[in-house]
Structures are given as structure tokens and as C-alpha cells.
Symmetry: C2
Subunit: 135 residues, 2 copies
């Protein structure tokens, strides 16, 4: 199963959002849209997530996740990154400021309540399912 | 947990695609974009799926699914329909022709190889998570 992004879908690496699915306590899927950054150095997908979100709690307990990235201009074209997530602290938002803020032209710190903490969540692909449905 | 679509997000019922997540044999999530139809009569979300697709096989074995519906015009607005799916035959594509074709202005039969079979997949919501992130 491919773990790298095919040339046909590399433009989606700069897409604005992905649908992150985690597994809830009942074993069922829960999805939310999220910002993401692709790290060319290691081929991993990285997110900045608040520690208090359910999705964060889910993936710390059950690391299997999916990140579906749709083409904003073509609803029949997308890729689904299936893999395992691991989380590490992001003290003082250093990683988020360096990597998320430039992609989005925003400051992630403005979205958080005082005293919030963020994690760097890294998704290591185990299978990248890239699709374009003709039609 | 709400099982009906909030008034704030009812416009998403006519959105073109949703991200359907099923659970694979390894317990991990797998997502694909799919067409869907909302049934006002029973409040369920319905799909026409080919019997030979992996997502179809997944949900027949493990009925917990998520259908995330993004707002095509606003990446920070979406709803996630979490529930159980069940599948029933759709002989001669009768349901798909009556309900999917009109929404999409297309004929689903044209996408299928000769001899294909379709199922009507019904998602009964157990929790609808509707989000609009300000920013």
C-alpha cells in the first residue's frame, strides 16, 4: 500500500483543510475538519491540536486515524491518508507559530482561550488512497 | 446528543458530497467522498453504493459510520453525522434512479460496469455534530 503522495495528487498538499477522523470510545468514527501541514522532510502530515478537544483525546488513546483531503475545486478528487498519529507537546506554540501560521496567514494563538495547550500531532501514513473519479 | 439537523446547518443537506468514514478490518478509519441524499421523511441520510466497494463491505460488517458534510463555500463550517448504517438491495437501481439521479442531474447507472449491483445504504443519525468555527 502506498505511503507516499502520488504525483497526481501532490497539489492537495497545499489544500486548506482535511477531514480528520478519530475513533471514539465506542469504536465508531468521529470526523472534524482541521488545518494541516505537510512536512516535506519526513513525508508526514502534521496538525496543531488543542489538548482539550475530543479528537485529541481520541487519538492519544487510539492512534488509528484518517485524514481525507478534498480538492476544493473538484468534489470527485481527493486523497485519504490512513495511518497512526502520535502527539508531543508544543511549548509556547513554537511549532504552530513556525509551521501553521505561515500556511494560513493567521495566528493560531488567537483561537485559544488563555491557558490552553497545544500538541503537535504527526500522522505517519500507512496507506495513501488517492482518487479521481471520472465523470 | 442531537439526532436532527440544526436549523443553522440545514443548507448543508443539499451539499454535493460528504466524506464517508467506515471502519476497516484493522479497526482503523477509512474515508472516501460520496454522493448522498437526505430523506426528509425519516431524517436519515441515504447513499447508493456498489456492492463491490471496500466501504460497502466494511459497513456491512461494522455498521458504525460517520458522514462529514463540508460547506463548499466555507472550510470552517460543516456537520458530522455519526450513526449506524444498514444496507438493502436496490434492484434495477430503482431507488438510485428515483432519488440520486434527480439531485445530481446524472445517471448513476453510467458509472457502473455491466452486472454491477447497488445497495441503498441508510445512515440513522445517533449524533449530529454541527460546527461553524468563527475566524
Amino acid at each position: 500500500m502506498p505511503t507516499t503522495v502520488p504525483a497526481s495528487h501532490r497539489d492537495l498538499l497545499s489544500a486548506p483543510v482535511g477531514s480528520l477522523t478519530t475513533i471514539g470510545a465506542d469504536g465508531g468514527p468521529q470526523a472534524t475538519l482541521t488545518w494541516f501541514v505537510f512536512d516535506e522532510a519526513d513525508g508526514h502530515f502534521k496538525l496543531s491540536l488543542n489538548t482539550d478537544r475530543l479528537k485529541t483525546k481520541n487519538l492519544r488513546k487510539r492512534p488509528q486515524v484518517s485524514l481525507l483531503i478534498p480538492d476544493p475545486a473538484n468534489p470527485m478528487r481527493f486523497m485519504d491518508v490512513r495511518g497512526h498519529a502520535h502527539a508531543e507537546p508544543d511549548p509556547d506554540y513554537a511549532w504552530a507559530v513556525a509551521h501553521v501560521n505561515p500556511k494560513y496567514g493567521a495566528d493560531v494563538r488567537e483561537f485559544d482561550a488563555p491557558g490552553s495547550e497545544r500538541l503537535i500531532v504527526t500522522i505517519e501514513p500507512r496507506n495513501i488512497y488517492a482518487v479521481e473519479i471520472p465523470g
